[in-house]
């Protein structure tokens, strides 16, 4: 079970007069299997926070640890390994490869794994079964609906069974029925032990979460009252296949 700990995270863009603090002194912890919704107005710092948690954007100061691993203490290539092993991304705009079929899109995170082709296919098929899209496996992204695209993106995020899923407005482009389907899916994954951090504007979606963390002006305003940052062991060696 994977625990996320952020300590005094700060992210400042620009210098001098153009200096802008996107995330200011944020400290919080997310328990293994917890489903956290991050809410806030546009420009509040939600996306910056998510990119920091996604090992994509190094904070200006502070520490970010996952299972004791100091993520930004890793080299850039090790951070890539970390993303592959620990994280699954669900993007608002799906970001499926238009020239790959649904099944191939789901197989994408397994591309660099040493698994055999049929093993990769079996894992992708299982992920598609989980999101109820197996019958669309051979379709290209432009041949499926928005809801199906988002479910494909979720399948891609879970195919290598990462302990953490980071979702950025996963229902931002979906209608009510598809929104319900995707949120139910994320809820189910959370129940199965996957830690989920979801950025959303929607109160309906945030209702599916265990906790709602509200941020404004780069600071946490609510939803972090009872969470004490635990003491962590020194960073263990990350063991990811190249």
């Amino acid at each position: 079970m994977t625990q996320i700990v952020a300590e005094n995270i700060e992210k400042i863009y620009g210098t001098g007069d153009s200096r802008f603090t996107a995330v200011s002194d944020m400290s919080f912890a997310v328990a293994p299997g917890e489903f956290v919704a991050v809410m806030g107005e546009s420009g509040a710092g939600k996306s910056t926070l998510l990119s920091i948690l996604g090992a994509l954007n190094a904070p200006t100061s502070g520490r970010y640890r996952v299972d004791g691993i100091d993520v930004y203490g890793l080299s850039r290539e090790k951070q890539a390994d970390f993303r592959r092993e620990f994280l699954g991304f669900v993007f608002q705009h799906f970001h499926l490869m238009p020239y790959l079929s649904v099944l191939e899109n789901v197989m994408l995170p397994l591309t660099t794994s040493p698994l055999k082709r049929h093993e990769k296919k079996a894992l992708a098929a299982r992920a598609l079964e989980t999101v109820g899209l197996m019958k669309k496996a051979g379709h290209l992204p432009f041949e499926i609906s928005g809801g199906e695209k988002e479910r494909t993106a979720v399948a891609r995020a879970i195919v290598n069974e990462p302990p953490i899923i980071l979702a950025d407005e996963p229902t931002g482009n979906l209608d009510t029925r598809n929104t319900g389907d995707v949120m139910a899916l994320l809820r189910r994954l959370s129940k199965q032990g996957t830690t989920i951090i979801m950025v959303t504007h929607s109160r309906t979606c945030s209702a599916f979460a265990d906790r709602i963390m509200t941020i404004a002006d780069g600071r946490i305003w609510a939803g972090n009252e009872d969470h004490i940052i635990p003491e962590m062991e020194p960073t263990p060696e990350i063991t990811c296949p190249a």
Binding site: S51, L56, E77, A80, R84, F91, M97, M107, L108, T111
Partner: protein, 385 residues
Amino acid sequence: MTLKEIAVKNLMRRKGKAFFILAGLVVGVATVVGIISFVHAMTRDINHKLEKFGANILIVPETEDLSLVYGGMNLGGVSFEAREIDQSGLVEIQTIKNAANIAAVGPVVLGAVAVKGRKVLMAGIDFEANYILKPWWQINGKVPSGQEVIVGAEASKTLGLTVNQIVFIKGEPLRVSGVLASTGSQDDHLVFATLPVAQSLLNKKGVVSMVEVAALCNACPIDEMVKQISGKLPGARTMAIQQVVKGRMETLGQFTRFSYLISAIVVFIGGMVVLVTFMGSVRERTREIGIFRAIGFRKKHVMGITFLEAAILSIMGGIIGYGLGFGITRLGFGLLPDKTPALVAFEPQLAAGALLMAVLVGLAASAYPAFMAARMDPNQALQAL
């Protein structure tokens, strides 16, 4: 899903870009192959013609004191009365290692005779070999046979000899079968008979004064052939007519240098086409690269996709380019006057070289775009959506 599958599917998706890169490589390779094939074909053609251009090796008797100039060339120590070359030994010339490079062997017997009371130099030659040794000869009349002679242009004037006249040499009646058109050489002053007739008249049966050899050896220096002939004819002195040999080699060398220069320019342009197109492709795929990096692709994986795409296109470009270059050159060469398409031959080494060149150019030109793609910040790439 593998990196190769991603590369192939991406190429299939961006057919226009792939075609543009492929076209750049095909044009580059086809041009280089075309130029080199053309130069090789021209070289073969020149070699073929140069072989018929005339003698480039002279064999004269070993001598120390007297000298004789023939055809404007120093023949070394040759003495009419002193030493001659045994004709029976000449068959040995055809047994040298590079015998295949010998186009013609022309034995010559020389001697002074009196015609109409005037001294004139008579040469007995093998007229068949002479077609190759002196292809510029033009005979007004016909080639002599039996008791016939031809006379040089100056000799004809000086001696008042015309075609079909009978001339007495050493008491033997000989018919003038033709008059040699002016050559500007010493040949204009001579009387020519067949080798046996001249040997008989000059009392030099079984011996010759000198031997002219037409040979061209691309794969080995002409000096090597001179050595080989010297080994077979120890009693004679063999020497290369350096000017002719050097001239031939310089012509070929200039052709080759020119072709390599043009090839280098074309390869550079082809490489630039690949570079610019791949750079555009990388910029276009910023989002895609960001996603690859976000889901855990290392830099080497992102570079690998670009390199695989370049390698696939390069191999295709190399094969198509070779076929196109070879085909066009063969077709075009056949349209040139006095040329046959057969001179443009399939060369496995050139084919392999074209493929290798295409792959090297493709990979080298895609290295920078691949590097740029790999070092792209995934967060910035995703923000560029």
